[in-house]
């Protein structure tokens, strides 16, 4: 399978991905994965209708996303996965998706979240999901744009949320 990139981004498909990431990675299949989004017909319609990059767009529950990425159909593709939340990223990995790096993109402020940066606010459950990803030996990066640092970001998360990583 050729999953080029997994990004956890609650904005799903948006400007940064269409403009910056698409020109960087030459995506030919964009998979949005989150169980709730996949069950919202209006959101599925929107995601498929308005994405202009010429790539195939799928919206799948997390389990189906992993199954697809392990299927022969995925072998010829350059796949970009957008998981909505860190919890979705963690589920991808726990269901067997083999990937060396997970990238943390936009996570907007929600009730109970705390600030990591101007564009990333994490909940306790999100931090715990990232911890599980880290403990599986997967590198976590925090890149909004392709030109940002590919350094391991876990130490910053650990330092920012000392009570939630326990």
């Amino acid at each position: 399978m050729t999953v080029a990139h997994v990004r956890m981004d609650n904005r799903l498909i948006h400007g940064q991905i269409l403009v910056s990431w698409n020109s960087h990675l030459k995506i030919d299949h964009l998979i949005v994965t989150n169980d709730k989004v996949a069950q919202d017909p209006m959101q599925v319609t929107l995601l498929k209708a308005v994405t202009p990059i010429g790539a195939k767009v799928s919206v799948l529950p997390v389990a189906d996303c992993v199954k697809y990425c392990q299927s022969p159909a995925a072998e010829k593709e350059n796949i970009f996965i957008i998981a909505k939340f860190p919890e979705d990223g963690c589920e991808l990995v726990e269901r067997g998706l083999q990937i060396p790096v997970l990238n943390l993109g936009n996570q907007a402020f929600v009730r109970g979240s705390a600030k990591l940066s101007n564009t990333v606010f994490l909940t306790e459950s999100g931090v715990k999901a990232l911890k599980k990803i880290h403990e599986k030996g997967i590198k976590i990066t925090c890149r909004m744009m392709p030109n940002e640092s590919e350094n391991e970001f876990w130490p910053t998360i650990e330092k920012t949320y000392p009570d939630w990583v326990k």
Binding site: R11, I13, L46, V50, P52, I53
Partner: protein
């Protein structure tokens, strides 16, 4: 009268309205919204919904966004699907488009205004006339 709602990343929408009113003078039923870096699409949809409620007098609202496929567009499209109000959405908002439709919207229907915005947005982009390039080389 049709209302205009300009939505962009950051401060562009606000700036466009500011620039437009330098040319057209103060205008009613125009509003700008800017997506903030930390803002969720769901929160932006709610702000757009409120702005449409505030603006609309029954003639409809033309939502003008900066970039096709990006969050201001996605959130506007979602509202288009959900709302019972007369809403249209156009992308690539620029100053020529905005100036032209703000002064010609009186008495127009929403589909006509959308078409006019679509045309004026494109014809508003021009290269320096060849006459000037020739004049310089003489």
């Amino acid at each position: 009268m049709i209302s205009l709602l300009v939505i962009s990343h950051g401060g562009l929408a606000e700036g466009l309205l500011d620039a437009m009113q330098m040319i057209t003078g103060p205008q009613e039923k125009v509003l700008a919204l800017g997506l903030q870096e930390s803002e969720a699409p769901e929160d932006l949809i709610e702000r757009i919904r409120e702005a449409v409620e505030t603006l609309d007098d029954g003639d409809g609202v033309l939502i003008m966004v900066d970039l096709y496929g990006a969050t201001p567009f996605n959130s506007s499209s979602r509202l288009f699907l959900e709302s019972q109000k007369k809403i249209e959405v156009i992308t690539g908002v620029n100053l020529p488009m905005l100036v032209e439709i703000v002064i010609s919207r009186e008495g127009q229907t929403l589909p006509d205004l959308l078409e006019q915005a679509f045309q004026s947005g494109q014809t508003g982009i021009q290269k320096l006339p060849d006459a000037l390039r020739k004049a310089k080389s003489i």
